[in-house]
Assembly symmetry: C2
Homo-oligomer: 327 residues x 2
């Protein structure tokens, strides 16, 4: 089986690549080739015995998407995207990468004209939803994005559903919760603190909390996110039916509950490394985000997230810190 991953150099792309290499197979078939694309060339994964083609590519550039599917990958994981903050700051770039790039890839599949019919897994986002919300957002809640990023993801969902309905490919799209704990350095994303308040204290650094502890949000670990993608690739057309855009399960908890979990796992001294410094801009942005979903369809289809935030912290310690914390 040949697998294409776009956005393979990103955090979730790397977690997915590692997971696939570890499994050695997908949906019961051995993985023989990985094609890894990103705006910067992804590094080849260690320990993979099959062929790897890793290169830099901008799918919105003419001919690039056609080239990406020239090797007829059996499964396409389309993760490539400009993140929320950048799509908001640069309107043209966001639409070019997130909308035109996705459409170019779909069109490249359709236009092969030789019976090519891959599995196409698209990462969408809970940013397709915008306030005001009901207490728990049901699977049939309307698409009301309040960012250009969310708009672009919602359009990607609609395009994929139409290409799936027309039988140009087997499509499935998964709306990821906020993925925490993101490994690596802090970034400037408005949601960055959800990871920062766990990651920094665990490595002996101070973290800034810009919002109130009562803020409620929806989380899954990077390990769960990779697991959602793998599980999605194994679902059949019959299992999915026409509604192929699925909200993933997650852990709904407050920032206060996140901090309490950190204290339980790593001790009060670690949890004390969080400094409260309210930021009005972030407070306002976060207030427009969804906080709780009733992800019944995904659960019925076998998707599994974490049950507690404690699990999410333990996964970070295991997968990203080699089991060690700075007590």
């Amino acid at each position: 089986m040949h697998i294409l991953i776009t956005g393979a150099a990103g955090m979730i792309g790397r977690k997915l690549t590692t997971r696939l290499v570890t499994d050695g197979a997908l949906a019961g078939r051995p993985i023989t080739k990985l094609t890894l694309l990103d705006v910067v060339a992804p590094s080849a994964p260690a320990g993979f015995s099959g062929a790897v083609a890793a290169s830099a590519a901008d799918l919105s550039a003419p001919g690039t998407a056609e080239q990406a599917v020239a090797g007829r990958p059996d499964v396409i994981f389309h993760l490539a995207a400009i993140v929320s903050a950048e799509a908001e700051l640069d309107f043209d770039k966001g639409y070019r990468i997130n909308l035109d790039g996705t459409r170019a890839l779909l069109e490249a599949v359709r236009s092969t004209g030789d019976g090519y019919h891959p599995k196409f897994v698209f990462t969408s986002s809970i940013a397709v939803f915008g306030a005001p919300f009901p207490p728990a957002i049901p699977d049939d809640f309307h698409l009301t994005p309040l960012t250009s990023y969310g708009t672009q993801k919602a359009i990607g969902e609609l395009l994929l559903a139409d290409y799936n309905r027309r039988d140009f490919l087997d499509g499935v799209s998964i709306r990821l919760p906020s993925v925490v704990v993101r490994p690596g350095k802090p970034n400037k994303a408005a949601s960055g603190f959800f990871s920062g308040i766990i990651r920094e204290p665990l490595s002996g650094q101070e973290a800034v909390l810009p919002v109130d502890e009562s803020v409620l949000h929806w989380h899954a670990s990077p390990r769960a996110a990779a697991g959602f993608l793998v599980h999605a690739a194994g679902l059949t057309r019959d299992q999915l039916g026409p509604r192929i855009n699925l909200t993933m399960p997650g852990v709904c908890c407050t920032v206060g509950e996140q901090i309490a979990a950190l204290a339980r796992i790593a001790g009060d001294k670690v949890a004390a490394r969080i400094r409260r410094e309210p930021d009005e801009l972030i407070i306002r942005i976060v207030a427009g985000w969804p906080s709780r979903f009733d992800a019944r369809r995904a659960v019925a289809l076998g998707f599994k997230g974490e049950s507690t935030f404690d699990e999410i912290i333990r996964i970070h310690i295991e997968d990203d810190l080699g089991g060690k914390i700075a007590a």
Copy 2:
């Protein structure tokens, strides 16, 4: 006030043009100029004292959208679209006209760069929804189109909402019910019989009914559709809030109730001109269509449809038959 209408040669475009010329004003301001575009040049309306520029234009062709807004129309009614059946038969043409054309017009507005900020009224469709449905579809029901046309309209809604949110224009989009009774000759649209079973008998012709009388559907007259567009153009940003895509009110009735209304108004002899001839393809297509909406937001915002199907028939007799029926 300068008004641009795309798709001005279509049935709703002509009804809207006539209504605007009759009113002489829109949102309290006198209409001084009409720019009318369509793939075939629309005819200039009778009895209009202002300037009229009517021309053939394909908005998806390079430079055409820029030219369409070069005169800085204060209000844009964007009605131009490939209809449902054609968008389903010709995938490329549907996306080119319905998606690329709409996006080109939005981009033309945004790229003026001189503070231009029109009111932009988009005609969407109940085809943005697809079965299975709840008994009455609420305003917050998700977008699940089951046609390429519905997908393209849903994407248009999302784009318009983002351009509105970014304040490039004042947007509003209205999801029209099935508009009946359409004047003129029968067409091959799957929904054509909803008009045909009223229009043909009233003009002394036989009509074919391809579905069961129990089929339930959602209707508004062409007069109401023009009224929705005019009302939408008068709504302010504050009235609309961020959710600018609105399902319009309509009359929900069965085909049997349509026929009973026809018999009440025009007599049994007229109603007897309907021949039952089941068509499995049309039966299947219609089964996927929505039938009943709970259009609370639109009603609260002052949109008015008809209350009974009798009214819809009477409007057809008044507006399209000069008050005369073939008894």
